[in-house]
Symmetry: C2
Subunit: 139 residues, 2 copies
Amino acid sequence: MRIGEVADAVGVNPKTVRYYEEIGLLPQPERTPSGYRDYTDEDQSRLVFVKTAQRLGLSLAEVGEILAFRERGERPCTYVLGVLDRQVADVDRRIAELEALRAELAALKTQADRLPRTDGCYCSVIEHAAAMATPTHEP
Amino acid sequence: MRIGEVADAVGVNPKTVRYYEEIGLLPQPERTPSGYRDYTDEDQSRLVFVKTAQRLGLSLAEVGEILAFRERGERPCTYVLGVLDRQVADVDRRIAELEALRAELAALKTQADRLPRTDGCYCSVIEHAAAMATPTHEP
DNA sequence: CCTTGACCTTCCAGTGACTGGAAGGCATAC
DNA sequence: GTATGCCTTCCAGTCACTGGAAGGTCAAGG
């Protein structure tokens, strides 16, 4: 299997596959006589594994640690569950942030018409948002 | 006002302030005789503006475009409202993605105990997630 | 046999938004 | 005088790729 095939099968750019090899997430594959990378089904599984873990929010460094467990013959699941716990908390935090941001954007849009057409400011829409976020009575 | 003061006041790293100057988002400030950057209140307002716009989801490039409107003496608000429209749509999309991810993470966690302790795989938790995402009957 | 086009190779460099560190200058307190 | 905590510049690194250049390989078509 050449690099384009395995990349297409998994839905990534061939450059990404080479990059994963470079940083050690994928092993160096066999080469054809002409120097083309030749991937096995196992390589493809490993690539799917990396992309799945990444989709779950793990960094490539974390994926690398999981693969290292495997290389040491250890079971990574406890580690993975710990990472996933942190991921859930993190995702919750990011959802809350985005929802606050969404409310703010929506409020800005509805208020934009009513804002005075002030001169001498960069953009009244954004400066209105800054004023909302910075209470007038600071310590 | 020295760089540390303005950075503290706005809640950013002094390095960030220098970086904004480098990429042209902040003007080059006056210098004290000893070479220290000396910021005005207007510089601080501009920094707050940048951070506010960024918090609303604009890239620094977009912030730069808004500031360029100002420099050309034009009103950026129509542009900004267009950007904010895209932002709302984008935030909605990201919230939906994160919620799907959160559901997946939660499902994985509750199912983790029930997963068989399979040998020969990198991590059954993640491979279970991959199996969920890849339907068994592909075209 | 030659060409075309799609693939592959390596290497270098850039993205965005910073952040860290080194090496040195300045200002104030003790 | 010296200790500290700022400040300066410059270089390099982060993360996860992605783009491009310059060249090699392979199968199909004329």
